[in-house]
């Protein structure tokens, strides 16, 4: 039966206490954005104690019978240094000590940073902490789950939004010789039953890589959400994320910065934010541009603008004729009642074509 000593051979910075293997190593990160709280989810968390966390478990099925045998944690030290600490339970009996080590590294100011940790890692750890009656409210901490901002920004552009995909597309990282996360359960079982160290070493590497990626991804997402990142992203959705979090100003900045890359949806949203701010010239300019591209929603906005803002019913009617069918019929019926003097009867064939002005005064 192999011991942790054999794992230690290849793992500098490692020690074993109470059956728990601890490995500490420092990584150097590429130079990156500094205001790590500049994301819609955590904008109020300046000076947070960012704690990157990723677990390796005995399974993906969930429930109390699934446990994490390895927890990777990382904290930043200054701008570029990342201190990675991995704790591994060498047996079921050691799980308790491993969880205590985890609990000891958490402070009330910690903000967890994970990938899909809200649905997976944290509930799983919380269940095991309760089972061992360790007083640590992991679920009560602030938690930035990077999967959500990634999905928001890239859902429409990437085939999927897994961590590996994000590494490839955002960090330009391609893992070589990586043991897939799904192989982790078998690796630990092999260690327990046969003392096999090779697969477990693979899991250690994989987990360390995951935690480092979390830190890099975090910084990179700050750039993406600022709107200035060159990577193709769904800028319309980025702005909406800021807007929903109550930061209209930042939403507008993102949309403005996207410039030509902004989709029709984005421009419509930007125009709406100008409208709310009372910046009519900018709003109408955007609508006019969209209208020229045949956007029926812009026609609706212009029709409203001319009706309510300019009190120009005739122009409002002209634009209303280009709205989507259901809106068009309602608006036209109403607008025609408003129109002073000459009334026009408008008929349109089959509901889809352009309006035909048929007759003069009624």
């Amino acid at each position: 039966m192999a011991t942790f000593a054999q794992l230690l051979d290849r793992a500098p910075g490692a020690r074993v206490t109470n059956g728990v293997l601890e490995i500490e190593r420092r990584h150097v990160l590429p130079r990156a954005a500094v205001a790590l709280h500049a994301l819609p989810q955590v904008l109020d968390a300046a000076d947070a104690d960012w704690l990157y966390l990723d677990t390796e478990t005995t399974g993906l099925s969930g429930g109390v019978g699934t446990l994490a045998f390895m927890v990777g944690l990382a904290r930043r030290d200054g701008e570029r240094a990342l201190d990675v600490r991995q704790v591994v339970a060498g047996s079921f009996a050691a799980e308790r000590a491993m969880l205590q080590a985890l609990a000891a590294s958490v402070t009330p100011h910690s903000v967890l940073v994970t990938f899909n940790g809200k649905a997976f890692d944290v509930p799983l750890l919380q269940a095991r902490l309760r089972l061992h009656r360790i007083d640590c409210d992991l679920g009560g901490l602030r938690h930035l789950d990077l999967m959500y901002p990634v999905r928001r920004a890239f859902r429409r552009l990437w085939p999927d939004c897994r961590l590996q995909t994000a590494e490839r597309c955002l960090l330009g990282l391609r893992r070589v010789d990586d043991l897939p996360g799904a192989a982790a359960p078998a690796a630990w079982r092999d260690w327990l039953r046969r003392g096999a160290t090779v697969p477990l070493r693979g899991v250690l590497r994989h987990n360390a890589q995951d935690v480092v990626s979390l830190a890099r991804l975090h910084a990179r997402l700050v750039a993406v959400y600022a709107g200035g990142d060159p990577t193709p992203a769904d800028h319309a959705a980025l702005g909406v994320a800021w807007q929903e979090a109550g930061h209209a100003r930042r939403a507008r900045d993102v949309w403005q910065r996207a410039g030509r890359r902004l989709s029709a949806d984005g421009r419509l949203a930007l125009a709406a934010s100008y409208r709310r701010a009372g910046d009519w010239p900018r709003a109408t300019a955007l609508w006019a541009g969209l209208f020229a591209e045949g956007d029926r929603r812009a026609a609706l906005e212009l029709s409203k603008y001319y009706e309510h803002r300019c009190r120009d019913v005739a122009t409002a009617i002209r634009y209303a004729g280009y709205c989507a069918a259901d809106e068009r019929d309602r608006r036209l019926a109403r607008l025609q009642l408003k129109q002073p003097g000459d009334r026009q009867l408008m008929l349109w064939p089959g509901g889809r074509g352009e309006p035909h002005v048929v007759a003069g005064a009624i």
């Binding site: 005995t58 399974g59 099925s61 429930g63 109390v64 019978g65 009996a93 327990l192």
Partner: protein, 806 residues
């Protein structure tokens, strides 16, 4: 209670009395007996001193100022800290027996409660009732249901804020226990666990629930909680035994109801004999139909219980033909059964409560405590198979201070005939024993597996009555499911074992019935796996609220049946052949002329074809084929064989032997069902040889036929050994422990079967003893009855030592 015939009073004012009087005058010769349960006055006690003021207000708000005696008794038992089982009739205020102590505990800040009901619908009724009490007393108690319909974001609130959580065994099994740490706070404060409708926890389901309780208590012990358990049950013979087997600890029985009850009358009705020589009676169906029609005509609300889903639909059709002829008017007649979509069922329940249904026809689905308001008349189409179910169903009619009427219409089967001829059976009223076998190996292993997932086992840990789980854990370790480390066994696999274990032993998944006409793809019903082959074969007429749909295509793999509305004047009934092969003898007993044994058998059901049966005339108007895979299972059985040589001496031909065995099996089956107090459907019968080479069926000519494994007919005198055996088997995979007591009591059972046949008033055999016989047999003097008696005689003679085989 009295069984004395009563003279019909002159022009009784009450419509129920009027109907009863009318039936008694007009059909005097059909009514074998009338049982009258006299009205009973309430026995009450003052509210307990220590009851919280808020609860007093709540009770006063609901018009309660005193407790019925059983409620007071229950209160005292819970105060003493005892587990208890409450067995009182429907509508006797049973729920207050547990609601009161629970609310006292919750309002007094002592703790929380978990309520488990067998079905979701019942759970929802219960929460509604709790909320009413809560409102009446402004108690601020938070009672929530937690079931498959509880939305994800509400679940956390239920776990952390619920004072009373109402759920069902399946949820406890699959969602709560495997995630018990999320419920830590709830479990730590749990002081009551209530299991209502306990009588449904019998057989395989009951064995699962007993193990589920073992798992629950294991988790509770982990959280340092030891709540009191309260069981509530309809009448069964052994409520205390069942509760104690479920819980594994002594419980206090509360069985004397102090609730008032209106007079209840029960007529035992035997359909008239239409062919005295063959002992053939008019069908129970025609009589049931007639009684329900009379009741509905004079404006009474009635409920009809039928024994099968098919019979529900047929009766519904006949009653709808009378009362729902005009499609512009709202329907007065409704069917209710398992298989209808939940929304349809809720709708029917609602209509029942608000009184807009005049007649409902149901299977046992309405036997449970679903709130359906009060009805006047209950008609049972055939004996439900158990005394408990009979009273439970009859209890569906009856309002507090009014007379209610029940009519039990006997079918032609021996059990039915026995009961109408021996009404004292009802008076002595030894209702059935509900049996469970929590230590059945497969069930036990499943739950130890789930328990190992929930908390590691340690060496020497017990699980219920299993003193040492070591052997099981070693097995699971060999399977690679758990890992032994030091003195503990830990779950080590990536799987969620509760998902692989279904409490209701229907793991194979439901079939859905898809109407191709409506939107092309609308699901109109669900059919459970076990009954699908008998109801959804291609060509079958599937009925919903008596509207016929024809099955056009059955997607067996995809579990879908595609149907289309149709207009036909017939329904279909599947022809099923069963054969058995003996796998293992657990024990056997040698008799002078025969041998009886019990053990494990392999059972194969073949769906050979179906009959088309015309409405009203019930003539057979054609056959169709069914192309479905055989259904196989392993179960336990008891069987009787006659020694080689003896049979040839006693009977002239193999044909006679077949007929004798089939008749004997018929009688044995019905006597055994009564003896082990199970429902006839829980027990199956078959005649064949022990190697499964051939089996016997009743041919269209009423004569026994031998068929080979593929269902083709064999000549009885074909070459080869001929060693017929009668099998009675547990109709559930793995068995539920019915065959072992049957083996033990085999001497009594064979004797009782002999008695039944000997004492029957017919000449050559009839449906009340050995099964129906043909008119032509009767003319020729061929007597299946005599043949069956010969076989039974050979099976009974003398008894010898039991030889148990390891």
């Amino acid at each position: 209670m009295s069984a004395l015939p009563r003279a019909a009073p002159a022009a009784p004012p009450d419509p129920v009395e009027r109907l009863a009087a009318r039936l008694q005058t007009r059909y005097r010769d059909r009514i074998c007996a009338e049982l009258v349960l006299p009205a009973r006055a309430a026995q009450t006690q003052p509210l307990p001193e220590e009851l919280l003021p808020g609860l007093r207000t709540a009770l006063a708000g609901r018009g309660i100022t005193r407790l019925y005696s059983h409620q007071a008794e229950a209160w005292q038992a819970t105060r003493r800290g005892e587990h208890m089982v409450v067995v009182t009739p429907t509508a006797s205020g049973k729920t207050l027996c547990y609601n009161l102590p629970v609310l006292q505990a919750v309002c007094g800040g002592e703790g929380k409660a978990l309520y488990l009901f067998p079905t979701k619908a019942l759970a929802q009724d219960q929460v509604a009732e709790l909320l009413e009490l809560n409102r009446a007393g402004d108690l601020g108690v938070r009672a929530y249901t937690f079931d498959g319909d509880t939305p994800g974001d509400a679940r956390k609130a239920v776990r952390t804020r619920g004072d009373i959580v109402v759920s069902n065994p399946d949820m406890l099994h699959q969602a709560i226990l495997p995630h018990h740490t999320k419920w830590a706070q709830f479990f730590e404060n749990l002081c009551y666990v209530v299991l209502d409708e306990m009588h449904t926890y019998r057989g395989v389901f009951g064995s699962h629930v007993a193990n589920l309780i073992r798992r629950l208590r294991r988790i509770l012990a982990f959280y340092g909680a030891s709540p009191q358990f309260v069981f509530c049950s309809a009448t069964i013979a052994n409520p205390v035994e069942l509760a104690e087997r479920l819980l594994g600890e002594p419980v206090t029985p509360i069985t004397r109801s102090g609730a008032p009850q209106g007079e209840r009358r029960l007529l035992l009705w035997n359909p008239p004999v239409i062919n005295p020589d063959l002992g053939i009676r008019a069908s129970a169906r025609s009589q049931t139909n007639r009684i329900a029609r009379l009741a509905t005509r004079i404006g009474l609300k009635s409920i009809v219980f039928a024994r099968s889903r098919l019979m529900v639909e047929v009766l519904t059709k006949y009653l709808k033909d009378v009362f729902d002829k005009d499609p512009r008017r709202p329907s007065r007649v409704f069917a209710y059964r398992g298989g209808y979509l939940p929304t349809q069922r809720r709708e029917t329940e609602k209509r029942l409560r608000d009184g807009s249904i005049d007649c409902v026809i149901s299977t046992s689905a309405l036997e449970l405590g679903v709130d359906i308001g009060s009805l006047d008349v209950c008609v049972l189409n055939g004996y439900p198979g158990s005394i408990a179910a009979t009273w439970q169903r009859l209890g569906r009619a009856g309002r507090r201070n009014r007379t209610s009427l029940g009519v039990l219409v006997a079918g032609s089967e021996p059990l039915d005939q026995y009961i109408v001829r021996n009404p004292e059976f009802f008076l002595d009223a030894s209702p059935e024993h509900a049996r469970i076998d929590p230590d059945q190996l497969l069930v036990l292993l499943d739950h130890i597996r789930c328990a190992a997932f929930e908390l590691p086992f340690r060496d020497g840990d017990a699980f219920g009555s299993v003193a040492d789980t070591g052997e099981f854990l070693a097995y699971l370790s060999d399977e690679g499911v758990v890992h032994r480390e030091g003195d503990s066994w830990h779950w080590v696999t990536d799987s969620y074992p509760a998902n692989a274990v279904s409490l209701r032993s229907v793991a194979e998944g439901n079939f859905v019935v898809v109407d191709q006409e409506r939107d092309g793809r609308q699901v109109i019903a669900e059919v459970d796996f076990s009954s699908a082959p008998e109801t959804l074969y291609e060509g079958a007429i599937y009925m919903i609220q008596a509207s016929p749909y024809q099955v056009e295509r059955l997607d067996w793999e995809g579990r879908k049946a595609y149907v289309r509305p149709t207009r036909v004047d017939y329904y279909t009934d599947a022809v099923v052949y069963t054969r058995l092969k003996i796998l293992d003898n657990f024990a056997e007993q040698a008799l002078p002329q025969a041998r009886v044994a019990h053990g494990e058998v392999h059972l194969v059901k073949r769906f050979a074809g179906y009959k088309k049966i015309r409405y009203y005339t019930h003539e057979n108007i054609g056959y169709g084929n069914i192309n479905l895979p055989d259904q196989e299972m392993h179960t336990t059985a008891v069987w009787w064989e006659i020694r080689p040589g003896v049979l040839e001496q006693a009977l002239a031909s193999r044909q006679q032997a077949l007929d004798g065995f089939l008749g004997a099996a018929y009688a044995l089956h019905h006597v055994a069902a009564l003896q082990c107090m199970s429902e006839t459907l829980d027990l199956g019968r078959a005649v064949g040889d022990g190697d499964g080479r051939w089996f016997a069926t009743l041919g269209a000519g009423g004569r026994g036929q031998m068929r080979d494994v593929s269902g083709d007919e064999l000549a009885p005198d074909h070459a080869g050994a001929f060693r017929p055996a009668v099998f009675l088997y547990d109709a559930y995979p793995g068995g539920i422990g019915l065959s072992e007591p049957l083996f033990r009591d085999q001497h009594t059972i064979v004797g009782a079967a002999q008695d039944l046949v000997t004492r029957c008033g017919c000449r050559y055999g009839c449906p009340a003893c050995v099964g129906p016989v043909l008119a032509s047999d009767e003319q020729r003097g061929y007597s299946p009855r005599a043949l069956a008696l010969t076989v039974l005689g050979l099976l009974r003679d003398g008894h010898a030592d039991t030889v148990a085989r390891a």
